[in-house]
């Protein structure tokens, strides 16, 4: 282990390993520990005895025994819980969450995934992708993992065939399109013999990529941590004596400086950071991940559960949210059930008011249901009994993930991830105006609607939007274009490109669209709008049938080739961050009303398709 330096710059990477029984997961982890020389002689002696008993071969060394844990599991010969392993190299210290592959243990995999930054998915080269591979990928994606290594194992059993590897890789990339990964890296290996684990394999000269270990040492998983708003949930009020009152907690998003104004949620009071206290002395700035104690410039009533936030972007305090719920108890759950909800450092009573649908984690498709069984994941509406400061899970795992605790048994029965806030303003009755929407629409001889053009930058949204508008105006229709770039110069000039800002931008565009449809207009929105959940929310903002989702589908390579604004070139050069398609995700629409593949058409014929669709569906007459 002489290669281990005492470099204080060594970082920590938390990753998850998953695979089906016998894919060789334990062998791979055993191999990592063994090759990193972290197996001590007494442990080696222990497993060589067990290996001989199990395999009946005096020379056999079953590395998987190194990572088998509880006795019950050893007897069954399978892994049934999450086990944590540790090893380090010169560059990094690793924490491995080792999770089982069986269907009934979705909960364990979710547990392992919740703290992991990267997932290693094991595939047996002879079997290729299995249902389990799909399930593990979906769960990893739902839990917010953005980086995946597809470890194609047992290459020695397929004669190290490049074709086999490339086919599996291609199939996986195709499947993963509907998930939210920002990077997928496929590596061919033999865990058993160590091929491409630590050293390049002479058996696979066709593979030029990183070895498994070099990849894990070098992968940057923090690339998407840009421009986050500051968040610090208060854990403990620090009051040693009358003259000191500080708020202790860990920064879970962004950073904060002495002198910065903050807002305290859910109360909404403001204050200024006077000191950032640590045992080793005061600091001038605290970053994400640091445990600090903050002293404010004024007396404010803050207790555990409050969240200190940047003033520009406070948390949401909506008391009704839509969330993914992973149910973990043997008894199925139905709407109406009450729990204690713990999110960050606050705990409040909560109730599931509706199960919208459940998700088939093998395919990500939705099916109707009125209950969730153990290990099922559903989309539910949750009502908190008092406001609980939160963010969307996609924006911040710590601020958008929660657990449900049974009020009687105290068991942890569910995990939840917030998808969106559910507005309650629908219940507010508006004053009835004499001239109403249908009057205004009739006057214009059209049905108001919103043509929501979504797609990558450079996909052709603006070009097509202009052509549609020209064609409709020629027919005497009343239209208005809301173009992403123009909106950002005015209505949303205060917003950046962080996920929370994008979400807010979309909310504003949806609200303006709603006002314009109320005015009887046909609105054409041209906006990248990368998140499915946000487009769904826009859809809900509008009256049923008025939201027309149009997917302007242009492959990334083509958009990069066009690069009309030079943005891709700058993103590749690292000058701009959060570029959709490069280092920020784009979630393609699942069921758009219209799907236009631009490479097959001219902009004119694309525009014509949209106009004809409107005509066919009766929008062009009152």
């Amino acid at each position: 282990m002489s290669h281990v330096t005492l470099d204080s710059e060594r970082t920590l990477l938390r990753f998850l390993t998953c695979g089906s029984v016998d894919d060789g997961k334990s062998t791979l982890i055993g191999r990592l520990l063994y090759d990193a020389q972290l197996i001590y002689e007494d442990q080696l002696l222990g497993i060589s005895k067990e290996s001989q008993r199990k395999l009946g071969d005096a020379a056999a060394l079953d590395l998987s025994l190194l990572v088998d844990g509880l006795q019950a599991e050893r007897e069954q010969g399978i892994t049934i819980d999450v086990a944590y392993r540790f090893f380090s190299t010169a560059k990094r210290r690793f924490i491995v969450a080792d999770t089982p592959g069986h269907e009934q243990y979705t909960r364990n995999m979710a547990t392992g995934a919740s703290t992991a930054e990267l997932a290693v998915l094991l595939v047996d080269a002879r079997k290729g992708l299995l249902v389990q591979t799909h399930r593990h990928s979906c769960i990893a994606s739902l839990l917010g993992i953005r980086h995946v290594v597809l470890a194609v194992n047992k290459m020695d059993l397929v004669e190290f065939s490049e074709d086999v590897f490339r086919t599996i890789e291609a199939q996986y990339r195709e499947f993963a399109k509907k998930l939210h990964f920002t990077s997928i890296t496929a590596i061919p290996l033999s865990a058993l013999n160590g091929d491409n684990v630590f050293r390049h394999s002479p058996n696979m000269p066709w593979y030029q990529g990183s070895t498994f270990m070099t990849f894990l040492e070098d992968v940057n998983v923090n690339a998407d941590a840009y421009e986050e708003p500051f968040r610090m949930p208060v854990q403990w009020v620090n009051r040693p004596h009358q003259d000191f009152r500080g708020f202790s907690g860990t920064v879970v998003g962004g950073s904060i400086n002495v002198g910065d104004a903050i807002s305290i949620q859910p109360m909404g009071t403001n204050a200024v950071v006077a000191r950032i206290v640590q045992f080793t002395g005061d600091k001038s700035v605290a970053h994400r991940g640091e445990a600090v104690t903050i002293v404010l410039d004024r007396e404010v009533d803050v207790s555990r559960g409050a969240v200190l936030c940047g003033t520009a972007h406070g948390t949401s305090n909506a008391s009704r949210v839509e969330a993914h719920i992973l149910w973990m108890h043997e008894t199925a759950v139905q709407p109406g059930r009450q729990f204690l909800c713990k999110l960050g450092t606050s705990t409040v009573p909560a109730v599931i008011t509706k199960i919208t649908h459940k998700i088939d984690v093998n395919t990500m498709s939705a099916t109707h249901t009125d209950q969730l069984e153990m290990n099922e994941i559903g989309v539910c509406v949750v009502q908190f009994e008092s406001p609980i400061p939160h963010d969307l899970y996609s924006a911040n795992r710590h601020m958008g993930g929660f657990i449900f605790i049974d009020r009687i048994s105290n068991e942890t029965v569910a995990a939840g991830m917030i998808l969106s806030d559910v507005s309650q303003s629908r219940n507010i009755t508006w004053q009835q105006l004499d001239v109403d929407k249908s009057t205004r629409a009739a006057l214009k001889n059209q049905k108001p609607c919103v043509l929501w053009l979504t797609g990558l930058s450079g996909a052709g949204k603006s070009t097509i939007a202009n052509l549609v508008e020209r064609a409709l105006t020629a027919e005497g229709k009343h239209t208005y274009i809301l173009d992403g770039d123009n909106i950002r110069h005015g209505l949303s000039s205060d917003l950046g490109f962080a996920a929370t800002d994008r979400i807010e931008n979309i909310r504003r565009v949806s609200e303006v669209s709603r006002l314009l449809t109320d005015a009887g207009m046909i609105v054409i929105v041209s906006l990248i709008s990368p998140f499915q959940s946000e487009r769904e929310r826009a859809r809900r903002t509008l009256v049923e049938g008025e939201f027309i989702e149009i997917f302007i589908d242009t492959p990334l390579e083509e958009c990069e080739r066009r690069d009309p604004k030079g943005l891709y070139r700058r993103a590749r050069a690292g000058e701009i961050r959060g570029m959709t398609g490069i280092d920020a995700p784009y979630e393609a629409p699942r069921n758009p009303e219209l799907h236009i593949q631009t490479v097959q058409h001219t902009p004119e014929s694309s525009a014509l398709m949209i106009v004809e669709w409107l005509r066919d569906h009766g929008y062009l007459q009152a």
Partner: protein, 297 residues
């Protein structure tokens, strides 16, 4: 953020969650290197306040004398409240490793003693310095480990731990063991001790000490209670300890590492795990797991 700072922040978060969520927490203090790190982390977590819980030492009466001296010195320096508990009843019956064997010794003087103390002080959460890398069965231990009535650890009732959102709710009679340094390794511990200049018992550093060899293990003759075999005389050997417990149950290693830097170097090149120096989990596979079910830490 470097890996030690990352681990430190995680541990501080856990310590604060315990302080905020339980009525009567204590921190178990075994005087070893892991306890020293834990104590230091607690000082950091609550500064400028003192940690809002006392420390508890289960005294088997068989600890090295240097350990007890070190303990009292650290308590004076930190200003923390120390609780010491012994199983007086067992000691009165003369229970010791020499007369009753290591099994009874550990059970009576450690496991039973700990249960007595936790009951006596009505502790609802005991913070401990166990690490997941110490033994195979610990790799799956929760950070907040749930204990039912009579302190029993039931593998089936352990709660899933997602993110860092711990379910700390219990009913009377139940309790939790919290392990803030679960994710640290032996090497991390030493590197952190070095970085933060944390005081540790001098027994961790090599020195000439009076020793005898029994069953291939080097034992230190710490006081006159150590029964020598006929003709056996202690020999001075250059030794140190990788782990510390009761002196008759803790094997030393031959070493010349007498400074923290040398200890880190030696840990880097070690070829046996530290628990090999503990006689308890040696014999059969899963023996630690069995001990844990019975309530041993």
């Amino acid at each position: 953020m470097d890996h030690l700072s990352n681990l430190e922040a995680e541990s501080i978060y856990i310590l604060r969650e315990v302080a905020a969520s339980f009525e009567r927490p204590i921190m178990m203090y075994s005087i070893g290197k892991d306890s020293s790190v834990l104590l230091h982390l607690a000082q950091k977590a609550f500064f400028p306040s003192l940690p809002p819980f006392p420390i508890l030492h289960i005294d088997t009466s068989w600890k090295f004398r240097e350990m007890i001296a070190f303990r009292d010195q650290r308590v004076a320096e930190t200003g923390m409240k120390l609780l010491v508990h012994r199983n007086e009843d067992a000691l009165a019956r003369g229970v010791s490793v020499f007369s009753h064997g290591s099994g009874v010794h550990t059970d009576e003087l450690k496991t039973v003693a700990l249960r007595q103390a936790l009951d006596h002080y009505k502790v609802d959460c005991a913070i401990g310095g166990a690490r997941r890398d110490e033994e195979r069965s610990r790799a799956k231990e929760r950070i907040m480990s749930f204990r039912g009535q009579h302190h029993r650890w039931d593998p089936k009732r352990q709660r899933p731990e997602l993110w860092q959102t711990f379910n700390t709710r219990i009913t009377p009679g139940e309790s939790v063991r919290a392990f803030p340094i679960s994710n640290w390794t032996e090497l991390d511990i030493w590197q952190y001790i070095k970085r933060e200049a944390i005081p540790v018992v001098p027994l961790y550093f090599a020195k000439l000490r009076p020793t005898v060899i029994r069953d291939g293990q080097i034992l230190m003759v710490d006081d006159e209670r150590f029964p020598l075999a006929p003709g056996e005389t202690p020999e001075m050997r250059m030794v140190r300890f990788r782990t510390l417990g009761c002196y008759p149950l803790t094997a030393a290693i031959e070493s010349t590492a007498s400074t923290i830097t040398e200890v880190v170097q030696e840990t880097l090149s070690a070829r046996t795990s530290e628990r090999a120096g503990r006689i308890i989990d040696y014999d059969k596979p899963g023996s630690m797991e069995q001990k844990k079910i019975e309530g041993y830490f």
